[in-house]
Amino acid sequence: MDLNYTKEEQAFRDEVRSFVRDNLPKDIADKVLHHKRLAKDDWVRWQKILYKQGWVAPNWPKEYGGCAWTPIQQHIFDEECGYAGAPRVMPFGLVMVAPVIQHFGSQWQKEYYLPRILSSEDWWAQGYSEPGSGSDLASLKTKAVRQGDHYIVDGQKTWTTLGQYADMIFCLVRTDSTVKKQEGISFLLIDMKSPGITVRPIITLDEEHEVNEVFFDNVKVPVQNLVGEEGKGWTYAKFLLGHERTGIARVGESKRELEQLKDIASKQLRNGKPLIEDPRFRDRVTAVEVELMALEITLLRVLSARSKPGPEVSILKIKGTDIQQALTELTMEAMGPYALPFRPEARDGNWHGEPVGPEYAAPAAAVYFNYRKTSIYGGSNEIQRNIISQMVLGL
């Protein structure tokens, strides 16, 4: 047993770190580090930089332009990017739909879509959840009816993250309602510019526009955009969900947020002394810090295992989001009364108005409320507990 990184891994970390230092645009990092609003272009710019370096799709096979990194390398990369304040690489194209196309897609789909995903030419969105189908995804109702060379799609998707920017959306749709609910589902790739698609923003508790409802009214989708076989969509969906989930631990980002929290708490005063020196507050920080230290090793244990990660990655989701939420909570509480001011305009990268309280206070409460989503999305933490209970504990 050796809990040190190998020389090669250290060297790889150094390489990533200096690349990120030299290439991550400062304006983008500043936004991320200070919880400012990101524009579409911020994500795309960073992804194109990674693309040029050949690092935008580490999880892809080499033949398609991937990196063939080990899981540990991938973790190092994620950690360094997260820690430095790089925006997350948008997962919907690169991490989610691409492996499905690679495994189950047609030759045409591979040739047409994969290069466009790799180069961030197309922005993808995910069309899974529906108003009536959250945790119970298989009960989805959006239907697609074959008419000649097309499917006609009608229905509604929701919680579509950054769907307002999307060029393409991959959707689970019902193509057969006469069979068992999991068996009548198909996997479609839909052009967001198709007539009949309406995107309506959902404003979240922090008054940001991050998620959307997407309505499909008589939308024509060419049959060549069906992935794999009709009725096999559920299989592909599960493949997708199981494909890359160790990144959800978000260790690098949480380390960064923890460091910021400690920095803030050393500036905030309580009775004239730094808040971080107050044992009551300090112990709450310590509790999270200890959990994060543990999570990092738990993650590395999963990544180092010879077998493919199984249902135990649900632990990473639960603990990872617990920690992220606890950090936002502590950061908000560190502000004291300055948690109250709510000025969405101050989250704009170009805003230069008069700040209220310390600059770091502005986004704190909004981020706290935004992060309540983390234990809900990507399979709620209740669903994750069901998975562990059934698949790991056998209860």
Binding site: G132, S135, L205, G336, P341, R343, R372
Partner: protein, 377 residues
């Protein structure tokens, strides 16, 4: 021992409840928040008509001679409706500062105006470095002839932008955190030298940073005894905290009700999600938290009048600790149980959670009151 509200109290509560459920629905509230001022003059006038604005003041000062229990009743209903009007800053905190510190003449002049809805107050107590400590006062008031000159920066003054008059704590003597040497002043918000930067708060209310640059006030602006305001400030703050606890209880109750209703109606896997035992047991904990909070809010509303300052501090801080913890748990669980809908701004649930979180950040959070509780024991 008797937990029954008097007939008058029940009437007050019922009429307010009816008014809020009829006139202050989610959409009406949203429109009020979006307005320039951030609250409704019409609602305020109706509050005055209903007698809410003078409920706790002496009849001699234009009030209705009610008790802190009446304030609790009103605040609970305002909490249930997440009402954003400046009741807390004007009537509860501003009003009680004048009531506790003011001269008979000041009370007669000001409290009756408050009761009639003609005067809005804001308490400018906190400062950028004071956090929750009322004794951390760096704003200064220097003798200037018969009057005083104020300089300083007051932070997160609730409803500071709309207030007509500000009750300002300032240092007339002593060092930055000294207990002695703090005095209270009544300052016109529009006085020369007063700069107000107003903003929204995340829970749908308004607050402001207020700066004082050589603001001159007369001798009549002094509220209470010079250099000796801290005990009065603490008493008024305790009264305000007990009112916040009552508000929180109303908010918890409404939030629990809407969450349990959602659990009964939202279907997943062919059954209401409220039929899943893991959620049921957590719902029970939400309900227990609400009941325990209600108990201490009741106790605080009575003991805040205690002659023994240690008993008053102990009970009020206990209540604030309880509602801080319970408000956090209920707020977080309610959002979680609403799933995606919980993080949407279009549902009331998240707005209750926001208000509960901000109540924790007003006049002392759990940690602040834990320290205070320990030292008052």
């Amino acid at each position: 021992m008797d937990f029954i509200f008097s007939e008058e109290q029940q009437q007050l509560r019922d009429s307010l409840q009816k008014y809020i459920s009829k006139e202050y629905g989610f959409e009406a509230r949203k429109a009020i928040i979006a307005s320039k001022q951030g609250f409704s003059d019409k609602v305020w006038a109706q509050f005055a008509d209903m007698g809410l604005l003078g409920v706790a003041f002496d009849e001699a000062h234009g009030g209705f001679g009610g008790s802190s229990v009446d304030t609790m009743l009103v605040m609970t209903e305002l909490g249930r409706g997440i009402v954003v009007e400046p009741y807390f800053s004007t009537v509860v905190l501003g009003g009680s500062l004048i009531d506790l510190a003011g001269s008979e003449a000041q009370k007669q002049a000001l409290l009756s105006e408050v009761a009639q809805g003609k005067l809005l107050l804001a308490a400018a107590l906190g400062e950028p470095n004071s956090r929750y400590e009322l004794n951390c006062v760096e704003t200064t008031a220097k003798r200037d002839g018969a009057g005083y000159v104020l300089n300083g920066h007051k932070a997160v003054v609730l409803h500071g932008e709309s207030a007509d008059k500000l009750v300002v704590s300032a240092r007339t003597a002593g060092g930055a955190r000294e207990a002695k040497g703090i005095s209270l002043f009544l300052v016109e918000r529009k006085a020369a030298g007063v700069t107000v930067l107003g903003y929204r708060t995340i829970d749908g209310m308004r607050a402001a940073e207020i700066k004082f640059a050589n603001v001159k006030v007369g001798a009549d602006a002094v509220l209470g005894e010079i250099d000796a305001a801290l005990p009065v400030l603490e008493r008024a703050a305790d009264f305000a905290v007990s009112a916040l606890c009552a508000e929180a209880v109303g908010a918890m109750e409404a939030l629990n009700a809407t969450t349990f209703e959602y659990l009964k109606t939202r279907q997943q896997f062919g059954r209401p999600i409220g039929s899943f035992q893991a959620l049921q047991h957590r719902a029970v904990d939400m309900m227990i938290h609400n009941e325990q909070s209600r108990s201490l809010a009741l106790l605080a509303s009575v003991k805040v009048q205690s002659e023994d300052p240690n008993e008053r501090k102990r009970v009020v801080s206990a209540a604030k600790i309880q509602i801080g913890r319970s408000g956090r748990l209920i707020g977080q669980e309610a959002i979680q149980m609403h799933g995606g809908m919980g993080v949407s701004n279009e549902l009331a649930a998240g707005h209750y959670a926001k208000r509960l979180a901000m109540i924790n950040a007003t006049l002392g959070d759990v940690e602040h009151h834990s320290e205070r509780f320990a030292s008052a024991a």
